[in-house]
Symmetry: C2
DNA sequence: CATCCACCCTGTAGGTCATACAGGATCAAG
DNA sequence: CTTGATCCTGTATGACCTACAGGGTGGATG
């Protein structure tokens, strides 16, 4: 049976799929349990046998996760892509939405970074009783921008 | 009894504390359950009565969360701060660690943004069967930088 | 004084996104 | 045949909350 070998047109065990995709082996089972990955056929003994299609789909899911798409978003993308008509415009729109999300996150983190760096810079690190970092953290609204 | 009023030296209900700190009312109970916020005394009827100290501490926790510290990190900070000796140097170090984390996250998100934007830019949004976004997402290692 | 509604209480379930482990079966190689 | 890797299932854990059901309480109002 196909194991770790590439075996084109082939079949894979869960472990092989995990290695090929870089997806954690337990996560594959998790994705199956939430219906993100189709239940594969089994051997008589109950072992899962994955096809090239499973590999393709899991690769897609994994790639999307790396790009920060949520599982919910990935579900939408898959629905669009598998809806026969290549729903390119909708995929484009979802991608742009996601870019906007990412940009918002970047902006938030930048603000956080600035505040934290300022705090650290004010600290003289000696054992004076009032540390500016600590004082700042105890203030209710120390920085309007957060 | 003190409710929403400022009542210095005072006591607060859970709702009042929630309003003062901006922390969700259920989250306060959650923080108590995980030992992040001390169990307050109760009225005969079992209602929680928070002191100025609780307010101070929850404000601190909330502020740290806004700055992206994890609950675990907040626990460390509180332990340091309450350890009598103002452990300013340690607090400074934890803050710098955290800044580094934040900077890593920013870098990751920037890469994501770039890849996503590139993908979107290549897409002509017509119904041609092969959409560059979709194709890209199906590739196993389309961008070495991710 | 009765009433009313906002608030409080508890316990528990849900949500996201996995990861880990126990206890056992199977498989392939030596 | 034995051994070690891999597979199976079900369940628990982790971070970090949020929400809801089903009930009790408190204080202002009439």
């Amino acid at each position: 049976m196909a194991e770790t070998a590439s075996n084109d047109g082939g079949s894979y065990t869960r472990g092989a799929l995990s290695k090929r995709t870089g997806c954690n082996i337990e996560t594959i089972r998790y994705y199956e349990s939430i219906g993100l990955l189709a239940d594969p056929p089994r051997t008589r003994a109950g072992h899962r046998v994955y096809s090239q299609d499973h590999l393709r789909r899991l690769t897609f899911v994994r790639r999307c996760r790396q790009l920060g798409f949520s599982l919910r978003e990935i579900r939408s993308l898959l629905r669009l892509i598998e809806g026969g008509e290549s729903a390119c415009a909708e995929v484009h729109a979802l991608t742009l939405d996601h870019v906007a999300d990412v940009q918002r996150k970047i902006a938030d983190l930048r603000r956080m970074e600035r505040v934290l760096s300022d705090m650290a810079a004010q600290c003289r690190q000696d054992e004076i009783p009032d540390c500016p970092i600590i004082d700042n953290l105890f203030e209710e609204n120390p920085h309007r921008e957060l």
